[in-house]
Symmetry: C2
Subunit: 195 residues, 2 copies
C-alpha cells in the first residue's frame, strides 16, 4: 500500500490501521504508531484529543472506506463481472498479499471487533466499517442481475466467508482456506443472477 505523501494526521491513521491489523488493538501502542508514521509523538494529542480510542476508531473507519472503494476497482478490472468473479477478486487481494509479504496481517476491522478493550465506540466503528463495505458489494450484485432481496444477503455471506477465511489462513499460514472459499462459493454466487 501507499505510504507517506499525505499529511501527518492521515499517515498516523494509516499506520494505526497497519499496526492494528498486524498485532491487534491492545498490543498497538500510541508511541509505536507515531514512530511508524514518522510523526512526532506530540502530534498525537494534538490531532487526536480523544486519545487512543479516537485514533483506533478513525483507523477502523478508514479501513471500511478503503474496502468499499476497493470494490469499485475490482469491478472495473473485470471484463465480464459476475458475483463469483468479484468474490474471487476480493480474495485474490489477500492471497496476493500473503504470497508477497507473508501471513503477518489480517483485517483491521476484525482485529478491532475481537480486541474490544476500548469502549463501545470502537465496536460501532467496526459495524460502520462493515456497512461501508457491504453496501457497494450488494450494489454490485444487483447491477449484475441478482434480485434485490438476495443481494444484501449474499454480500453479507461474501464478507463473512472472506473474513473467516482470512482468519484461518493466518492461523494456518496457508491460503488454502481462501482458495477453497472461492472455489466452493463461486458457483453459488453466480447461480444467483436472475436468468
Amino acid at each position: 500500500m501507499k505510504q507517506a505523501g499525505r499529511g501527518p494526521r492521515e499517515r498516523m491513521v494509516f499506520s494505526a490501521a497497519q499496526l492494528i491489523r498486524r498485532n491487534g488493538v491492545t498490543a498497538t501502542g500510541m508511541r509505536e504508531v507515531a514512530a511508524h508514521a514518522d510523526a512526532p509523538r506530540g502530534s498525537l494529542q494534538h490531532y487526536f484529543p480523544g486519545g487512543k480510542e479516537q485514533l483506533v476508531n478513525e483507523a477502523v473507519e478508514w479501513a471500511g472506506r478503503y474496502a468499499g472503494k476497493r470494490v469499485a476497482r475490482f469491478l472495473a478490472e473485470l471484463e465480464h463481472p459476475t458475483p463469483g468473479g468479484l468474490f474471487a477478486a476480493m480474495a485474490a487481494q489477500w492471497t496476493d498479499e500473503y504470497a508477497a509479504d507473508g501471513f503477518t496481517a489480517g483485517c483491521p476491522v476484525a482485529a478491532a471487533t475481537v480486541d474490544c478493550a476500548t469502549g463501545d465506540s470502537t465496536r460501532q466503528a467496526a459495524a460502520a466499517a462493515f456497512a461501508a463495505w457491504r453496501a457497494p458489494v450488494a450494489g454490485a450484485l444487483t447491477d449484475m442481475g441478482v434480485p434485490a432481496d438476495r443481494a444484501d444477503s449474499l454480500a453479507t455471506l461474501m464478507i463473512s466467508t472472506l473474513e473467516g477465511a482470512i482468519l484461518m489462513a493466518r492461523a494456518e499460514r496457508d491460503e488454502r482456506s481462501l482458495t477453497t472459499a472461492v472455489r466452493e462459493l463461486g458457483p453459488l454466487l453466480d447461480a444467483a443472477v436472475r436468468p
Copy 2:
C-alpha cells in the same frame, strides 16, 4: 457453560479461554484469569511455568477440542443429519448465546489468531484448534454422503463462514449475519450429498 468442579488448573484454562474470547489476548491479564477462576495467584507460576504464553496456548487448544467434541453432540441431536442441518446447529449455538448473554464474546481461537502479540506458538495452537474442529466436521460430512474430496473443502468453508459471521454479528450486535449464512449456505451444503 459449566464452571467449577474441576481442579484449579483446568478452571484457570477455562477462565482464560472465557476472558480471551471476551476481551482478546493482550487485554487479558494473568491476575484477572486467576481471579475469574477463583484460583490463587501463586498457582499460576506453579501450573504454568511457561508463563502467559503457555496458559493462552492451552486455552486455545482447549477451545479447539471443545468445538470438535461439540460436533458429535450436534449430530446426535439431529434426527435426519444433513450438512445444512449440522451447519445450522453450529450457528444456533452462537445465536442462542447471543440471545441469552448479549454479544459480549466471540471465538477464542479467532481472538488468539488476531491478537498474536505472543510468540508463534500461539499461532500454531490456533492452527491446531482449527484442525481439531475441522476434522470431525469433515468426517460427519462424509458420513452423510458427501464425496471425500469435497468434505474437507466444505468443512473449511463452514468454519470460515461461521467465524466470519460470528465476527460480524458481534460488531453489529445483530445475529443477522449468522442466520443469513445458514439460509444461504444450507442448500449448497445439502446439495453436496452424493445422490
